[in-house]
C-alpha cells in the first residue's frame, strides 16, 4: 500500500532536512560507554513534540515523563534489508501503542511479525503498530515482531548505531539509537 509508505518516506525526508539525523550512524553517535544499554536514549532525549502531520486521529494525553522506556535497541543489517529489535516497557497505568517508526538511513521502516505455521514462515504486516499493555512489555525479537528496514544505507556499519524515531499514541515521539550487531551475531537473545 503506497500511502503509509509515502508518509514514512516524507517523514524520513523531513527529519533529514530538519537536521535531526545529522551524522547518523557514525561511530561518533554511539554512546561513549559501549557497555551502557543503548536504549537509554529514550531517557536521555526528551520527547519531541508530536508531529503536526500525524493524522492517526489519536490525541495523546499528556503522559508522565519516563512512562515509556525503550530498552535493548539493536539492529541487524544485510546489504538489502535490516531489522530492528527492542523492548518497550510501559510503566504507566494506561496502555500505549507504538504507531510508527522512522529511520533516516532506510528507505522504509515497517512493523511486521514473522509467524510460523507448519514450518512455513509468513510475514504479517502490522500497519497499526504494536500495543504495549499498561504495566506491560512489548518485545520485538528475532523470529517474531520486528521493525523491518528496507534498503538500509548503512550496511557494514557493525559497531555503529542507526537513529530511530518512535511515535507512540500516548507518550508521543521518542528518539533512540539502535546498536548495529555484527552480521550473524543475533542468535543469542539478550
Amino acid at each position: 500500500v503506497p500511502t503509509p509508505m509515502k508518509r514514512i518516506l516524507t517523514l524520513c525526508l523531513g527529519l533529514v532536512l530538519a537536521g535531526t539525523a545529522s551524522g547518523c550512524g557514525t561511530p561518533a553517535d554511539a554512546p561513549a560507554d559501549k557497555s551502557a544499554a543503548p536504549a537509554s536514549a529514550a531517557a536521555e532525549n526528551p520527547a519531541m513534540p508530536a508531529m503536526p502531520a500525524d493524522t492517526s486521529g489519536e490525541t495523546p494525553a499528556a503522559p508522565s515523563p519516563g512512562e515509556i522506556e525503550i530498552q535493548e535497541v539493536r539492529a541487524t543489517l544485510t546489504p538489502s534489508m535490516g531489522a530492528v529489535y527492542l523492548t518497550v516497557v510501559n510503566h504507566g497505568a494506561q496502555s500505549d501503542r507504538l504507531l510508527r517508526v522512522e529511520c533516516s538511513v532506510a528507505e522504509a521502516a515497517e512493523m511486521h511479525e514473522s509467524r510460523e505455521e507448519k514450518g512455513m514462515m509468513t510475514m504479517v504486516p502490522h500497519p497499526d503498530g504494536f500495543e504495549i499493555p499498561a504495566g506491560g512489555t512489548l518485545a520485538l525479537q528475532p523470529g517474531g515482531k520486528h521493525i523491518m528496514l528496507v534498503a538500509p544505507r548503512m550496511f557494514a556499519a557493525s559497531g555503529g548505531t542507526i537513529p530511530l524515531t518512535l511515535h507512540f499514541a500516548r507518550a508521543g515521539t521518542l528518539q533512540a539509537q539502535a546498536k548495529v550487531a555484527a552480521l550473524g551475531e543475533g542468535a543469542e537473545r539478550p
Partner: protein, 199 residues
C-alpha cells in the same frame, strides 16, 4: 494346527529383534523424515562454482531455504548456523551449511556472494534456476509463496517471500534424515549432528 514350540520361538525372536532394534537406533531431537530419502540439490554456489549436494557425501549437511531480501528470519537462521560452527569447532569441517535461495530472480550468485560469506565464508549459498526450483523443493516438502510488489519504494518492485524455514539434516550417506522447526536452537541441533557425524 496348534501353535507349537517353533512358532513360540519365532515370536520371541521377533520381539527380541524389535527390542534390540529400538535400543540400537539413536534418539534424535529432530523429527525423523520418514522414509529417509536421498537428498539432492543442484545449482550454483555464491562463488560461481557448480554445486551438487550428493557430491558431499561423507559430510553431514544442514540445509535451509531463504532469500537475501529476508529481513528477520533468514539472518537469524544464518546467525544460528554461525553459532553452530563456533560450537562445533574443528568438527565443523564435517558439517556443510547450505542456504538455498527461494528467490532466484533477485538472488543471483553475485547477489548471494554479497550475503552468504558475510556470515561465514564456509557457508554455501545456492542459486537454483527458477524453472528448476519447484522440483528441487519437493523432496523437502518445502513451499514458497511470493508476496505482491510494494509500490513507492526506490528498491523497485520490492516484495517479501513466505517460505518453509525448517532446518533439514542430511546424513553422511546423503539421506535426508531429520527436520527441525524454524525456532529450533543450536542446543537442540548440536547433539543430533554429533550423532550423525559418528555414524
Amino acid at each position: 494346527m496348534k501353535p507349537g514350540p517353533t512358532r513360540r520361538m519365532a515370536v520371541t525372536a521377533v520381539a527380541l529383534l524389535l527390542a534390540l532394534g529400538c535400543k540400537g537406533s539413536p534418539k534424535f531431537n529432530g523429527q525423523a523424515v520418514e522414509p529417509a530419502r536421498p537428498a539432492e540439490l543442484t545449482g550454483v554456489n555464491w562463488d560461481g562454482r557448480p554445486f551438487r549436494l550428493s557430491e558431499h557425501k561423507g559430510q553431514v549437511a544442514v540445509v535451509f531455504f531463504g532469500y537475501t531480501y529476508c529481513p528477520d528470519v533468514c539472518p537469524f537462521t544464518l546467525a544460528k548456523m554461525k553459532q553452530l560452527y563456533r560450537r562445533l569447532g574443528a568438527r565443523a569441517e564435517g558439517v556443510k551449511v547450505v542456504f538455498v535461495s527461494v528467490d532466484p530472480q533477485r538472488d543471483t550468485a553475485a547477489k548471494l556472494a554479497q550475503y552468504v560469506p558475510a556470515f561465514d565464508r564456509r557457508f554455501y549459498g545456492i542459486h537454483i534456476e527458477p524453472d528448476a526450483l519447484e522440483a528441487a523443493l519437493k523432496p523437502f516438502d518445502a513451499t514458497v509463496k511470493y508476496g505482491l510488489p510494494q509500490g513507492g519504494l526506490e528498491a523497485e518492485g520490492f516484495y517479501l517471500v513466505d517460505h518453509t524455514a525448517n532446518f533439514f539434516i542430511v546424513d553422511r550417506q546423503g539421506r535426508l534424515r531429520l527436520k527441525f522447526p524454524p525456532n529450533a536452537t543450536v542446543d537442540q541441533m548440536l547433539p543430533d549432528l554429533e550423532k550423525l557425524l559418528a555414524t
